[in-house]
C-alpha cells in the first residue's frame, strides 16, 4: 500500500466529520425561532446564556447524528410548549395576580411539562432501538428550551416543568427498554 493510501482513509474521515459539522450548523439554525421567542419574552443575560448552551447542545447532537440528531429537533418542538404556555396564561390575566394566580401559573408549567414529555415519549415510540438515547437527548433539549418560560414561577416552576417532562416520558422509556430485551 502506498503512503498516500495510508493517509487517505484519515483524510476521508476528516472530510466526513467536517461535512457533518457543516450540515449540522445549517440545521441548527432551527434554534433561531426559539431564540427569537426566548429573547422577546425574557431579554437579558440569563436568556443569552441559556441560548448559548442550547445552541451548542443542538449542534453537537445534530453532528453526532442518528437518534441524537433526531432527538434535537423533537426536543426543540416539545420544549416550545413550556416556553410559551406560562406566558400565554399570564397574558390572559390568569397569572401573577395575587397568590391564587401564581398557583395557576404553576399548573401551566407542570401541564406544559407533561405535554412536552408526552410529545417526546410518543416520538420515541417510533424510534427503532436507541429509545433511551433518544429520550434522554430530547428531554434534555426540551428542558433547556422550556426552562426559561417557567422562570416566571422561579425554581418551583422549573422543577414543576421538569417533573412533568419526566413523568410523561419515563414510562415510555421503561417500556422501550423492556421491549428491547
Amino acid at each position: 500500500m502506498a503512503p498516500s493510501d495510508i493517509s487517505l482513509p484519515r483524510k476521508a474521515r476528516r472530510a466526513y466529520e467536517l461535512g457533518r459539522l457543516r450540515s449540522a450548523a445549517l440545521r441548527a439554525l432551527r434554534v433561531l425561532p426559539v431564540a427569537a421567542l426566548m429573547l422577546w419574552m425574557h431579554p437579558g443575560p440569563q436568556a443569552l446564556a441559556l441560548l448559548g448552551v442550547l445552541a451548542v447542545t443542538v449542534l453537537a447532537l445534530l453532528w453526532r447524528g442518528g437518534a441524537y440528531g433526531r432527538a434535537a429537533t423533537t426536543g426543540l418542538l416539545a420544549g416550545a410548549v413550556p416556553l410559551v404556555a406560562p406566558v400565554l396564561v399570564r397574558s390572559g390575566g390568569h397569572c401573577c395576580i395575587a397568590g391564587l394566580c401564581a398557583a395557576i401559573c404553576m399548573v401551566a408549567c407542570v401541564g406544559a411539562g407533561l405535554v412536552a414529555g408526552a410529545v417526546v415519549a410518543l416520538r420515541a415510540g417510533r424510534e427503532r432501538g436507541e429509545h433511551g438515547t433518544f429520550m434522554a437527548s430530547a428531554a434534555f433539549v426540551a428542558g433547556l428550551t422550556g426552562v426559561l418560560g417557567c422562570t416566571v414561577m422561579g425554581a418551583a416552576g422549573i422543577l414543576g416543568m421538569l417533573a412533568g417532562l419526566l413523568v410523561a416520558s419515563v414510562p415510555v422509556a421503561v417500556r422501550g427498554a423492556l421491549a428491547a430485551r
Binding site: S4, L8, P9, K11, A12, R13, A15, Y16, L18, G19, R20, R22, S23, A24, R64, G65, G66, Y68, G69
Partner: protein, 211 residues
C-alpha cells in the same frame, strides 16, 4: 495546433467520453453488481444518518471502484489517481447531505465523473498555454525538458541517417555546413551537394518513413 494532432486529440476525447458513458449507463452493472449497489446504498444511508460504523466498509467498497472509473476516463494514471482521491473526499464530505431515497452509486459516479471532467479541462488548458508559449518563442531553448529530449532524439536520428551516406556525400555536406565551398562556387560542388541532400532525404525516409 497541427491538424493530425487535433484529429488525434478529438478521437481520444471521443473514446474517453464513450468509456465514461458506458460506465455511467449500460456498463454500470459491470462495475457495480446489483448486490454491491444495494449494500453501498445501505452504508451510504447509514453514514448520512451518522452511523460511523458504515465508514470503513463504505470506504473499502468505494475506493477501488472510483479508481477504476477514473482510470477508464483519464489517460494518465497520475490524473486518474488525483481525480479518484478528490472524488472520494468530496463524497465523504457531502455524505451527511445524502438523501437516502436516491441511488448512492449513481450519486458517487456523478461526483467522480465531474472530477474527471474538471481534470481533463484543466489538462487541456495547460496544453493550450504550453502551445501558445511555444509559438511565441517565450520559452528559452532547452528550458522545457520535453523539448530538449525531443531535440536530442532528433539529432541522434539525423546523425544515424548521416552515417548511412557514402563518405564522399558526408564530406560534401560537412563542407557545406562549415561554409567551406570552393572559391569559384563551382557548379560541380552545387550538383554534388544536391545529390548528397537527396541521398540524405532518402536515407531518412527509408529509416523513419517520413520526410
Amino acid at each position: 495546433m497541427p491538424f493530425a494532432r487535433q484529429t488525434a486529440d478529438s478521437e481520444l476525447e471521443q473514446s474517453r467520453c464513450a468509456a465514461q458513458r458506458r460506465a455511467a449507463d449500460g456498463d454500470l452493472d459491470e462495475t457495480l453488481k446489483r448486490a454491491d449497489r444495494e449494500q453501498i446504498d445501505r452504508w451510504m444511508t447509514a453514514l448520512a444518518d451518522g452511523d460511523r460504523n458504515a465508514f470503513a466498509p463504505l470506504y473499502a467498497a468505494l475506493w477501488p471502484r472510483l479508481r477504476a472509473f477514473a482510470a477508464r476516463a483519464l489517460p494518465s494514471s497520475a490524473d486518474a489517481e488525483d481525480a479518484a482521491q478528490s472524488a472520494l473526499l468530496r463524497v465523504f464530505s457531502r455524505a451527511a447531505e445524502f438523501d437516502g431515497e436516491r441511488d448512492a452509486c449513481a450519486w458517487v459516479l456523478g461526483i467522480v465523473a465531474w472530477e474527471c471532467r474538471t481534470l481533463r479541462k484543466r489538462a487541456a488548458r495547460r496544453r493550450e498555454i504550453g502551445d501558445a508559449s511555444h509559438l511565441d518563442g517565450a520559452a528559452a531553448p532547452g528550458a522545457d525538458p520535453e523539448a530538449a529530449a525531443l531535440a536530442r532524439d532528433l539529432e541522434a536520428a539525423a546523425r544515424a541517417a548521416f552515417g548511412d551516406l557514402r563518405p564522399a556525400d558526408q564530406d560534401t555536406l560537412r563542407r557545406a555546413i562549415a561554409g567551406e565551398r570552393p572559391p569559384d562556387g563551382g557548379p560541380t560542388f552545387r550538383k554534388r551537394l544536391e545529390r548528397a541532400i537527396a541521398r540524405l532525404r532518402g536515407a531518412w525516409r527509408s529509416t523513419y518513413g517520413t520526410e
